[in-house]
């Protein structure tokens, strides 16, 4: 999801603001996936997420003139998506915000991974199994909100720590802590789905992360 060059993007934005509105389609295209996943991680419902993604894009278009070059366009757009998601969560459940805060305190302690010894080498076929993907989706969906949001931005959408912090309005240290906890919770949840698989080639692990 890397953008080749910021200058092309800046030029695109300038042209859109100067009147070539149709170019907004091109500007937004690389980020469609990110916008959807961001709002989906919050509202957790496909129809609502799609609607929220559309609102995000329309809102970004309408407010493009207020975008300043000191932030990345992608981060700015992500912030709009997060605000759209929050708006919907508030509407759906007044208490949502408070409970999100409480979760930060409520999960002290248990963020250790699940020890295991017998599935170090997961065969590629196992990783491609549909059930594993499904299990991962469910596990992510069940993460407490504050962890799921950070995990989504960092590991799904591949924003860096600073961008994630900026988009969520939290400090980079909190991003790291939440990300670590999210990953450990997922590791723990998914161990049973991987454990029974047989050993196979190591070749897969040559893949860089």
């Amino acid at each position: 999801m890397k953008q080749e060059s910021g200058t092309t993007e800046a030029a695109l934005i300038e042209r859109i603001l100067a009147g070539e509105k149709e170019l907004f389609h091109e500007l937004i295209r690389p980020y469609e996936r990110r916008v959807y996943l961001t709002v989906f991680s919050m509202v957790k419902n496909e129809t609502e997420a799609e609607d929220a993604a559309q609102e995000t894009v329309i809102s970004a278009y309408r407010h493009l003139a207020s975008f300043r070059g000191d932030a990345k366009f992608s981060t700015w757009l992500t912030t709009i998506a997060i605000n759209e998601g929050r708006k919907r969560l508030r509407k759906a459940k007044r208490a949502a915000e408070e409970s999100i805060e409480e979760q930060a305190e409520g999960h002290e302690g248990d963020f250790t991974p699940a020890p295991l010894t017998d599935w170090r080498e997961i065969p590629l076929e196992a990783l491609e199994r549909k059930e594993l993907r499904q299990a991962l989706r469910s596990a992510v969906a069940e993460l407490p909100d504050i962890y799921r949001q950070v995990f989504t931005l960092r590991d799904l959408e591949e924003l860096n720590v600073e961008e994630t912090a900026e988009a969520l309005g939290i400090n980079p240290g909190a991003v790291k802590v939440r990300l670590h906890r999210a990953r450990m919770m997922l590791q723990k949840r998914l161990v049973p789905f991987l454990k029974s698989t047989a050993r196979a080639s190591r070749a897969f692990f040559g893949r860089a992360l």
Partner: protein, 82 residues
């Protein structure tokens, strides 16, 4: 200094992100060399992240992009008439 497993676990995430300093990295790697449990935890976590980043795991609804651009086109059309 010899690291224990718990200490390694605390830094697994940063280790994966390559944001630990050189000394800590070295300590972790020395520990991983002889600790099957921590190596397995590291590998499993890495694999979960590979799977997460894979577009097939988190798919977009069919037709999402088309509908998004159609909606945007309507917006651009309205804006033009202003």
């Amino acid at each position: 200094m010899k690291m224990d497993c718990k200490h390694v676990w605390e830094h697994i995430s940063e280790y994966i992100d390559d944001s630990v300093d050189a000394k800590l990295r070295e300590d972790i790697e020395r520990h991983l060399e002889h600790c099957e449990i921590c190596s397995a935890i590291l590998d499993s976590t890495r694999n979960i992240l590979i799977l997460t980043a894979d577009n097939l795991t988190f798919e977009l609804p069919v037709g999402y992009s088309e509908r998004l651009h159609a909606r945007l086109a309507r917006e651009l059309e309205t804006a033009k008439q202003d």
